[in-house]
Amino acid sequence: MTPVLEVENLSFAYERRAPVLAGISFTVYAGECVGILGANGAGKSTLLWCLLGLLKNQGTARWFPRAPARNALRRIGVVFQNPEDHLFMPTVLEDVALGLINRGCQPAAAREQALVALGQAGLGEAAARPASQLSLGERKRAAIAAAPATSPEMLVLDEPTAELDPRSVRQLAAVLADLPVARLIASHDREFLGKLCSRLLVLGEGRLMAEGTAARILGDAGLLERAGLI
């Protein structure tokens, strides 16, 4: 299996405060879907920010260790918790196309590819509308559609199901399940991660408490209790 992300002994602390993350090590392989499961405040988002180079941490996080590139982050699609952080163009179509244009795609081709990506996310009819006129579920799907449109080798998602109703969660899971790339999903939603991920990492009090198959982790009531997940 080809590793796409190798994390070794990653630690992070905000200035003059107790460590938020300590000694985190794990590997994500090509094509697999890995969930980072943790209660509120466990350090999930902070871990993702460290991995994306948005916070300076100790330890190492190597993207695509077998084929390192100067700008590895260009090969990753990222979706943050709030879709408003991604969608700011006059229409959703332009929001999805913008990432492609920024990476050198011609505007006409970007428009076509964006239409296809929105269609795959079930948002073909919403393409000409501004994001502010869509429901939260639709906005999340649009933000997620924008990420794979640029053909990333890996997708990183932070709390994708936060504030979504059950139907929107199902639609989102269907979109994510069909993607052929590696996915790293941080969430406290056990059911969602259980359906999508082959492997789960349990984060609690800044430490990696456990790592294993989704079935094993979700079947361990004691572990979930200690991690504040039940």
Binding site: W49, F80, E84, D85, F88, L98, P107, A108
Partner: protein
């Protein structure tokens, strides 16, 4: 007129600060008002939809378009955050005049800066990861 109120208050505060510090009154408050009116009028006249497909990527016009859209988006976020903060304050403070009423307004507005900074940081991070800063 209702939309003009915050900028009127801002311009008045500027004039008041100049007057209170003993400085001669300048045209800055009036220019602030004029700048706001011109910007809003232009923003309404421009047909934003599809513009990104008609402008050559990497050109100065492209950068100007994205900058204008950033500002428009962030002004919307700031407006929404302000409304939320003021509604939360209204629900939490007594309607009758008490010293806490003014203090809570100060705290609410101070909290707005923190929220705006957090949103700006996340927005910047999301856009830079989408290749905006390449």
């Amino acid at each position: 007129m209702k939309r003009l109120l915050p900028i009127l208050v801002f311009a008045a505060a500027l004039a008041l600060m100049q007057w209170a510090s003993g400085l001669p009154l300048t045209m800055l408050p009036l220019m602030t008002l004029a700048g706001f009116v011109v910007t809003v009028t232009l923003a309404r006249l421009v047909r934003w939809q599809g513009l990104v497909f008609r402008i050559r990527p990497g050109s100065r016009s492209y950068s100007a378009l994205l900058f204008a859209l950033f500002v428009r988006h962030f002004a919307g976020i700031l407006g929404a955050e302000t409304r939320r903060v003021l509604i939360a304050r209204r629900l939490a403070t007594p309607r009758t005049w008490k010293p806490g009423r003014a203090r809570s307004l100060l705290f609410a507005l101070a909290a707005l800066f923190g929220r705006a900074l957090t949103r700006a940081e996340r927005f910047y991070a999301a856009q830079s990861l989408r290749g905006m800063t390449d």
